[in-house]
């Protein structure tokens, strides 16, 4: 695996044009192809794709929900700015993730179509775009909203792009467990943008996403296992095996049931959220059971239970945070 640091120097910019780097020490060949290839600038749509817009939509949604659920008021202009900063930070971190993993992405079917492995953009542009977007998001958050929110945003970007992408992901099958914290920051940031301090409620929202991430991602990893194995990423199904992964999915789903309802238990939300959380988490658990006690039937196994759990896990998070917002709005209106 060739890391970006090894691709610096003449020809580095053009290296991604040829997809995954080969271990051939073919420096001369690379430089020659650099000079002969036409250096077209990347299209703006490729920069947009670099921000992982689909992931960003979930990040923006949970950040917005954290903001709405927080006690207090924020001016709409500042609220919009805070959400914009969260989106920019997520986009910057995603760009840095793709800059670092361009060679790995090229080896996986799910990610091979991204701008860097496709050669539609040079690696340096992706890195600079990621750093610029991340720095701008933190500065804007700090100046316009507050430095506590700005610092948490900076920590979340560092957590995703360095702690998860560079450090944990290639080293340990627990990468998703610890790295899941990166995706758990948005509601915390949204909450802090309104209140200016950290209390138990936003920490619980953080914990919910933290414990939701492993079963969500491992369900995906079960049916794209061969891809991860091919590029040497030690995802749980690759290292610990399918049986262990399936049991752990169930364990996290069991934990998620009381945890998701804990904001209700501590009096931070009303019954609308509490009942919705229990119902949604019970269904999550019910869908995890067939995944946990199932054996893959063979190569032609369509992995339907795993795909169903993955799809539901995305819906689960949207629905859970939508219930949080509904509960808060109904409470503010005096309906409950």
């Amino acid at each position: 695996m060739v890391r970006p640091s090894l691709l610096e120097g003449p020809g580095a910019d053009m290296a991604p044009r040829y997809g995954r780097e080969q271990k051939c020490n073919c420096r001369v060949e690379r430089v020659m192809t650099t000079t002969t290839a036409t250096q077209l600038p990347a299209d703006w749509r490729d920069f947009f794709a670099l921000t992982k817009p689909r992931v960003m939509s979930l990040v923006v949604f949970t950040g917005l929900c954290g903001m709405i659920a927080a006690p207090g008021h924020i001016h709409p202009v500042l609220g919009f700015t805070a959400i914009l900063c969260i989106a920019m930070g997520a986009g910057g971190a995603a760009a840095l993730n793709q800059w670092w993993e361009a060679d790995l992405d090229a080896g996986m079917k799910r990610t091979a179509g991204r701008p860097l492995p496709q050669g539609r953009m040079d690696r340096t542009s992706a890195r600079d775009f990621g750093v610029g977007l991340s720095a701008a998001s933190v500065l804007l958050m700090g100046l316009a909203i507050g430095w506590l929110a700005g610092v948490i945003l900076a920590v979340s970007i560092f957590y995703y792009s360095v702690v998860y992408t560079i450090w944990l992901k290639p080293r340990t099958p627990q990468n998703i467990v610890i790295g899941g914290g990166a995706g758990a920051f948005p509601p915390l940031i949204g909450w802090v943008a309104v209140t200016g301090d950290i209390t138990l409620m936003p920490v619980l929202l953080f914990a919910i996403i933290f414990f939701w991430t492993p079963p969500h991602f491992w369900a995906l990893a079960l049916f794209v296992k061969s891809d991860y194995a091919k590029v040497g990423i030690p995802m749980m199904p690759v290292v610990a095996g399918e049986a262990s992964t399936r049991k752990q999915i169930l364990a996290y789903s069991v934990l998620l049931l009381p945890l998701s309802a804990s904001p209700w238990f501590i009096g931070g939300t009303g019954a609308v959220y509490g009942i919705a959380a229990l119902a949604l988490s019970a269904l999550f658990l019910a869908l995890s059971v067939p995944v946990a006690f199932r054996r893959k039937a063979g190569d032609e196994d369509s992995m339907k239970p795993e795909k169903r759990l993955f799809a539901y896990s995305v819906f689960y998070l949207f629905a859970l945070f939508a219930a949080l917002v509904a509960d808060r709005l109904l409470s503010v209106q005096g309906i409950i």
Partner: protein, 45 residues
């Protein structure tokens, strides 16, 4: 760098597209900073 006419046209199209997007973003940020300043000076939170 030698480019064919097709490559030159594509180069120009992409550069123009990027310039328009950057201009639009800069303009949007100017407007956003204006409103942030008004809100912050007004003491709203």
């Amino acid at each position: 760098m030698n480019m064919t006419p097709e490559e030159q046209a594509e180069f120009t199209r992409r550069r123009k597209g990027r310039n328009f997007v950057v201009a639009g973003l800069l303009l949007a940020f100017v407007v956003l900073f204006f409103f942030i300043t008004i809100v912050r000076i007004g003491g709203a939170q």
